[in-house]
Subunit: 205 residues, 2 copies
């Protein structure tokens, strides 16, 4: 398998984080220069259909894009430690928190950075209102995660799952906008520190 | 099981569409009045944690929110017809198209409606630029789906899957903004007509 990714981009980092948690170190990594347009070449688009990283090319030539689809495929190849759930109910609770992490916090923070940070003006036609609106949306969601992390050590289950990875990477990426977890969210702050101490925290950065 | 939903809202409609495709007609349905704030009562929030529909309460009292997490749970309860993939590779391709449908088209169109339609001003602090930006993003993505539907009758696999449902419901919801598939996207137009003819098309509307 070959993983096409780009250092510093948050979606590939989800896959690298997931691989680190799994101890999956036998996948070939190709680092693309997005600012040089390496994800927009004819060859890359013929492979992926979209100018996006990450992309995972399987041994039979099939290419999968979308970070969560890639991670779920890797879960089948590297089943332990389990990160998507051991039965339908646990899987549903994990996916619920994974999607909340993504839709309510990580994706809005990514949009806030894409539309708000000067370094990304080369990749996006930036609209200031879109950046501000997304940032506010993410900020409003933090109370929900803080409450959950007061009841549960990890976001999706009694162990680390992809839900934790997605929230962690989303918040960490927003440091580019000097975004910080507000002090009153003590559970979230404690969880974030615990996530940063894991060996997986530096993968793909 | 009890499904909390709201007629006309697009995310609950995904679950109702999925149930119709599965022939799952033994789930109790509770229709909430969002404009009356039925999703913001103390009782509802104690159940779900978030003021959102759909929510599925299982027989043991666990409540799952997030339409795709609910559908994946229902796939385990009603395995046929298969709509999430029969092996890891097929599941990855379906999830890739499901997420593209969601992230590139359905969610942006929903945001465009939420931020752009007068009837939704009661549910959202509307920002015109956010509506316009989301609509443009969705319009740009249609060529990708049109190309795919020129190669494959259905979006995610050789049969209808949730990827088709999510794209169909997203585009159909945007009719509120008089959104139409541009004529040059003939494959997408043909596929949309086929989706509209299925008995599932009216479920949850």
């Amino acid at each position: 398998m070959i993983l096409y990714e780009s250092r510093r981009a948050p979606n590939p980092r989800r896959v690298r984080w997931f691989m680190a948690e799994k101890g999956a170190d036998d996948i070939e990594i190709v680092d693309l220069d997005l600012f040089g347009g390496a994800h927009k070449t004819e060859e890359y688009l013929a492979r992926t259909g979209v100018p996006q990283v990450p992309a995972l090319t399987l041994d039979d030539g099939t290419t999968i894009t979308e970070s969560v689809a890639i991670c779920r495929y890797l879960e089948a190849v590297y089943p332990e430690p389990n990160m998507f759930g051991r039965d339908p109910k646990e899987a549903a609770v994990i996916e619920m928190w994974l999607r909340r992490a993504e839709m309510l916090a990580a994706n809005p923070l990514m949009q806030a950075v894409r539309h708000g940070h000067p370094a990304l003006a080369a990749l996006e036609t930036q609209v200031a209102e879109v950046s501000a609106n997304n940032r506010q949306q993410a900020e409003r969601s933090l109370a929900l995660f803080d409450r959950r992390l007061g009841e549960s050590r990890w976001l999706g289950a009694d162990r680390v799952t992809l839900a934790d990875g997605v929230l962690f990477i989303g918040i960490d990426f927003a440091r580019l906008l000097k975004f910080q977890i507000p002090e009153q969210h003590q559970n979230l702050t404690r969880w974030f520190a615990a996530m940063r101490e894991r060996p997986s925290a530096g993968a793909g950065t």
